[in-house]
């Protein structure tokens, strides 16, 4: 009995904060998305906000754009991170330097990276100027559109820049802890380099890679400031659309903003379920 009380007391503040703030916020968002809020006299729940967003073409375009941003940046980041880790793990000095650089990069906020990407890749940015210097282009419009573009290339570039180190650090550390033994055995048994990677190394780093990917995917899906800075004005990424509707002068748009927030929450709940399944299967860090 005493033990239970002690555990409860130890957990209580954390659960109060997360339950009150996190679940409370989600719950209130849900209520307001149904335009239901008895405290301010809204006593009849309605589906209007959901009907409004689900019948709006802009919602589907925004949703697809956000999925595209998350999926593409996660995939590219994973491939590059694993590739970099494979190349660098044997380079002793290189690994120390790169690991440190990766960590350094992890402390740089996304917002700063996004501004940097903007100055580098816009049609009059650093690369466009270099192209002009080399007479490849004569005016900015001839440089490919990489920011504010319909394919969200700028946004994806920013996520890749930021997430390759994140995934890379995890994969490098996973490779480090397992040593070379398994692979060496496989090679000595006649496995090719590819087979060694595919059947020995990849399964070992897979869980870490997967859970890192889920975090990256969910983050890219829900972040506001990066698409707000680098995205085209239409269609906007889902979080930008939600924020726009939330700050609309027309109060009727607020339940719609809440409904969009709930859509984002539902998708991230799916991500959470996947994440938990993965982390159940492995232990420690």
């Amino acid at each position: 009995m005493y033990r239970h009380l002690k555990i409860t007391l130890m957990l209580l503040p954390a659960l109060a904060v997360l339950g009150g703030l996190f679940l409370g916020g989600l719950f209130l968002g849900l209520m307001r998305s149904f335009n239901y809020m008895p405290v301010i006299g809204l006593t009849r729940p309605s589906m209007d906000a959901y009907l409004a967003i689900f019948s709006d073409r802009e919602f589907y375009r925004s949703f697809l754009l956000s999925i595209h941003i998350s999926f593409t940046s996660t995939l590219i980041s994973c491939v590059l991170a694993v590739g970099a880790a494979l190349l660098l793990r044997r380079l002793h000095l290189g690994r120390t330097v790169i690991t440190f650089l990766f960590q350094l990069n992890l402390t740089v906020p996304h917002l700063v990276g996004a501004i940097g990407i903007l100055y580098l890749f816009s049609q009059s940015g650093v690369f466009a100027r270099l192209a002009a210097e080399m007479d490849l282009i004569s005016r900015p419009a001839e440089f490919p559109a990489l920011v504010f573009d319909p394919y969200a290339i700028g946004i994806i570039l920013q996520y890749v820049w930021k997430e390759v180190p994140f995934i890379g650090v995890i994969v490098l550390a996973n490779m480090q802890t397992m040593g070379h033994d398994y692979e060496a055995v496989a090679r000595s048994l006649g496995a090719t380099r590819w087979q060694g990677f595919r059947y020995v190394l990849l399964p070992l780093i897979w869980p870490g890679l997967l859970s890192a990917s889920v975090i990256v995917f969910a983050f890219a899906f829900g972040a506001y400031e990066i698409p707000a800075l680098l995205g085209a004005h239409y269609p906007a990424a889902l979080p930008v659309l939600a924020h726009r509707k939330y700050t609309d002068v027309d109060l009727a748009a607020r339940p719609e903003a809440m409904a969009l927030a709930i859509v984002i929450a539902v998708l991230s709940a799916v991500m959470l379920a996947i994440y938990i399944r993965i982390s159940r299967r492995r232990n420690g860090c």
Partner: protein
């Protein structure tokens, strides 16, 4: 360890502190007071002014110059709160009313006009009936319909003018020697110079006013549009406007597939020669931009032969401001000739006065007359030849929403 504990105690304490003290004087009592009483009431207090904060120069004028005078003369602390769009402030006050905060709001003064003013009035969010109490109110020309009406909505003692502004274009002389000097000429020019023009997507303030110029052109002149919103007339003119705007879309920057989101984004495109023409409701920003290095020195402001839209912008006290007396003292200071002249200096801001300078005599008047405009900013006389009025807010909202539905999201 001890330091850490002290720190934790401080952090916890900070969380527990009451957020604000409650205000004491009722609105009615305030409106009965004489000016000296109001100043005494305001003395030693603070005032929270929420305003668009995108210009460092305007911010400095407000924080340093106005804030300094307010501190030295009245012992009032001015907190300038910068926002990226005035709509956010309207929302803030609206949210407070929704949550039942009727006398202790966060906002004491806001910089406002047009749609936002209408929304504030409709939501019953405005403190009214006090401008006559301000001594400098005598300098305001309330007989001028462009002052007494804010985008067609009568001001009726609910706000106080601060500056007047008139839309102007600017071109990069290194790219375009002879810019188009009327809306029809501009439309032709865009087709002949593909990729060198665009405008910020409404509801951006400046993008929206550009679209209104095209709307006036499509209507055959603003005088053909009735004051009150007329749906049939709107549908007719709007259809033509969207046809024109969708017609030039392939000749815009990025073939019109996307539009810059803000005027600052357009200025960035302009500064880097992605486009050759920019514009602004406040022509003086051209001079400021050249001086601070955000616009190229080859920029020249110019007026249109068929006129451009002008407006007045105001300051407003929300209904639930807890520091109304201090806000009124601040408004009175903003109206003073010396503050208005300082604001008109090209190195400070360059904004045109909201008061009638012909009422001002003596050395102050001479100082104002001696004010020079930045050489690259369009001369006031060029602009003033034809000032087009703003439409009522209902028209503007309809135009913005129509643009989003028929041009922007198309």
């Amino acid at each position: 360890m001890t330091g850490f504990c002290t720190f934790l105690a401080c952090a916890t304490l900070a969380l527990l502190l009451p957020s604000k003290l409650v205000a004491g004087t009722t609105d009615d009592a305030l409106l009965q007071m004489g000016w000296d009483e109001i100043v005494e009431l305001a003395r030693g207090g603070e005032v929270n002014w929420f305003m668009w904060g995108g210009s460092d120069e305007i911010n400095q004028y407000v924080s340093d110059y106005i804030g300094g005078l307010l501190r030295d003369r009245y012992d009032i602390v001015l907190n300038r709160v910068g926002v990226s769009d005035t709509v956010e402030v309207v929302n803030l006050v609206l949210g407070e009313r929704e949550a039942g905060n009727l006398d202790d709001g966060a906002v004491d003064l806001m910089w406002i006009n047009g749609e936002n003013f209408r929304t504030m009035l409709q939501g019953d969010l405005v403190f009214c009936g006090y401008p006559d109490l301000l001594p400098n109110n005598v300098l305001v020309d309330w007989d001028n319909p462009a002052i007494a009406n804010d985008f067609g909505v009568p001001v009726n003692g609910c706000e106080v003018p601060w500056s007047t502004a008139q839309f102007a274009f600017a071109h990069n002389t290194a790219l375009v020697a002879q810019p188009p000097r009327s809306i029809p000429e501009l439309l032709v020019w865009i087709r002949e110079n593909p990729g060198l023009f665009t405008y910020p997507a409404p509801p951006d303030f400046n993008g929206s006013v550009f679209v209104r110029h095209v709307f006036y052109h499509a209507a055959g002149g603003v005088e053909t549009l009735p004051d009150a919103f007329d749906q049939t007339r709107f549908d007719d003119v709007a259809a033509r406007t969207w046809r024109i705007l969708n017609g030039i879309e392939p000749s815009l920057w990025r073939e019109g597939q996307t539009y810059p989101a803000t005027i600052a984004a357009l200025d960035q495109l302009y500064a880097n020669q992605e486009v050759a023409i920019t514009f602004n409701y406040e022509p003086a920003t051209i001079g400021i931009g050249i001086e601070n290095g955000s616009l190229p020195p080859t920029t020249q402001g110019y007026a249109m032969t068929d006129g451009t839209i002008g407006n007045t912008n105001y300051t407003l006290i929300p209904f639930n401001s807890p520091n109304k007396a201090a806000a009124m003292v601040l408004q009175n200071l903003l109206l003073s000739p010396e503050a208005q002249i300082e604001k008109a200096q090209p190195g400070v801001w360059g904004a045109q006065p909201g008061i009638d300078m012909t009422q001002v005599k003596g050395p102050l008047r001479a100082a104002f007359d001696a004010t020079e405009r930045h050489p690259n900013v369009v001369p006031v006389e060029d602009l003033a030849e034809t000032v087009l009025p703003e439409l009522q807010a209902a028209w503007i909202t309809a135009i913005e929403q129509g643009w989003i539905a028929h041009v922007g999201n198309n």
